[in-house]
């Protein structure tokens, strides 16, 4: 296994010059720390000095024990939460608010319950000013891609968890964000549905290779999907290592599960996470 050390700012190009685009990372997390005020007037350090560069088209998972701030990191990239220190950048531009270049998919689905399936998927396109017939045609195509043809007129309350998440993924893909931000998207689903959605996500991703930042606490899921796995330490969350997952694509689950390299990645990363657990106790 190749454990690469964190790339420093120097590798990323800390202040991009106009025209320096090729060297630029898609997402650059630059000395980001996050403090929360807790009830007892104390501030709790959730994230401590995170530095990370994510290349365009990379599928990167963030893995770590619960409470390590991995979702918070994702929300900072999304622009939903402002970091206490440091900055996150997309294509060199500081992130100050949410925007359609970063599409979130949440564990809670967060569908609009008053809109039917088609209405949900069309929502972002209509918001972007796309005319109704075109938005509808594109949404129908996406729904077919995520396997929900025939469910256009259903309301979210009539769908299972797996179907809701398919709608949510289609809704985000619809406005074509440059980056997908997935916050434990399959965490609330049963094992079978989860496996199917992982396979489908991989198929969709391998088609257009969007940059994906994927938060999960499942090591198998992270290794199966990702180009890189970022392992975080227990609270205060910091990056322990970034593991390059050097497995061929397109990946097929049946082949991968039997692949000793895949198995070694899973075992090694699990060990790393156990170690971070011990760190947490001693610190």
């Amino acid at each position: 296994m190749k454990v690469v050390p964190l790339r420093s700012d120097a590798d990323v190009g800390s202040e991009p010059l106009p025209g320096a685009a090729p060297a630029l990372a898609m997402i650059h997390i630059d000395h980001v720390s996050q403090r929360f005020q807790t009830a007892g007037r104390q501030s709790h350090l959730a994230l401590s000095d995170i530095n990370l560069a994510i290349d365009e088209g990379a599928f990167v998972s963030i893995l770590g024990p619960s409470g390590c701030g991995k979702s918070t990191l994702l929300y900072i990239v999304g622009g939903f939460v402002a970091p206490s220190e440091g900055a996150a950048r997309i294509k060199g531009k500081a992130i100050t608010r949410p925007g359609p270049d970063r599409g979130p998919v949440f564990q809670e689905f967060a569908l609009f319950p008053w809109k039917n399936v088609l209405g949900n998927v069309m929502y972002g396109l209509r918001q972007q000013g796309v005319k109704k017939p075109e938005a509808e045609a594109r949404s129908r195509k996406l729904l077919e891609m995520v396997g929900l043809k025939g469910y256009e007129n259903f309301y979210p309350k009539e769908l299972s968890g797996g179907m809701k998440q398919r709608v949510a993924i289609a809704r985000t893909l619809a406005y074509n964000p440059a980056v997908l931000l997935m916050d434990e998207p399959f965490g609330a689903l049963d094992a079978h549905t989860r496996t199917r959605l992982q396979n489908d996500l991989l198929t969709i991703w391998e088609r257009d290779r969007k940059t994906v930042l994927f938060v999960t606490h499942s090591v198998e899921e992270a290794v199966f999907l990702s180009d890189q796995v970022v392992v975080m330490t227990r609270s205060p969350g910091s990056i322990k290592v970034v593991v390059d997952i050097d497995l061929p694509r397109p990946r097929k689950r049946a082949e991968l599960l039997l692949d000793p390299r895949y198995q070694k990645y899973v075992v090694d990363i699990e060990k790393l996470i156990d170690d971070t657990g011990e760190d947490g106790i001693h610190v």
Partner: protein
């Protein structure tokens, strides 16, 4: 095909009404006093009221005030409640004020309001407005506060501005709760309508009721109570029909009991 069980549950409200009238009739015959006319005598007085032009004008005036008071109240209360639910500073400012106003019976303010604004439509409409506003603010506040943050984030990621999210995400997401508040408000509008007319006698359904009481025309009094009750049931049923069609997408809620709070 209607099963006997479904038939029974459909006809239950009618049976309850008939049962109530029978009990009334029996009690009244038993007591045999002038101040408690029988159900039959009272029912017979209903057509007389409903065919009398002056009475109809009175009832119409009541309904007009009620509709205006209710309409203005929801236009004011829904935005305020939703803003309280989403913006902490707004909630901290208004919450103590509402806490003070909540337990005060709105009709008890009527004499003061009459002192300022006279005994006309404005005072009565204002009392209805106050009565309706509080439950609608409260439910809108609860509804606004409960809107899932991730839903707002999803909309923000689509490029929707904060004021637009208020209008296009918070309002529809909170709608089931808002309409529950409006339903309570509608019943309260009827109650404050009658009480305001009890205090400021001039016109209206309440005026007919209390004048007939003063003149010992007890059959008219009870007939008027029945008319007001029927208005309440009709308005509530109509509102419920509209409510359930507006929020069909929402998770099925238990049918609310008539909220005579």
């Amino acid at each position: 095909m209607i099963t006997p069980g479904a038939l029974l549950s459909k006809s239950a409200p009618l049976l309850a009404c008939i049962g109530l009238l029978c009990a009334w009739q029996a009690t009244s015959l038993l007591l045999n006093t002038d101040s408690f006319p029988t159900a039959w005598e009272s029912l017979r007085a209903v057509p007389a009221i409903l065919t009398d032009k002056e009475s109809l004008v009175n009832i119409g005036a009541s309904l007009r005030r009620m509709v205006i008071g209710f309409g203005l109240a929801i236009l004011f209360a829904i935005p305020l409640g939703l803003m309280m639910g989403r913006i902490k500073a707004v909630a901290s400012f208004f919450n103590p004020l509402l806490m003070v106003i909540y337990p005060v019976p709105k009709a008890a303010l009527m004499p003061i309001i009459m002192l300022w604004l006279g005994v006309g439509d404005v005072s009565k409409t204002l009392v209805i407005f106050l009565g309706v506003s509080l439950p609608v603010i409260y439910h809108s506040f609860q509804g606004g506060r409960a809107v899932e943050e991730k839903m707002l984030w999803s909309a923000a990621a689509m490029g929707m501005s904060a004021p637009m999210r208020m209008w296009r995400i918070v309002l529809p997401a909170a709608l089931p709760e808002i309409l529950t508040g409006c339903r309570t408000g509608l019943v309260l509008a009827l109650i404050t309508m009658v009480t305001s007319e009890m205090i400021a006698r001039q016109s209206g359904a309440g005026n007919i009721l209390f004048n007939s009481l003063d003149m010992a025309q007890y059959d008219t009094t009870f007939a008027m109570i029945m008319i007001i009750g029927a208005m309440g049931i009709t308005l509530d049923a109509a509102f419920e029909k509209m409510r359930s069609s507006l929020v069909r997408w929402s998770k099925p809620q238990h049918d609310l009991p008539l909220s005579f709070s």
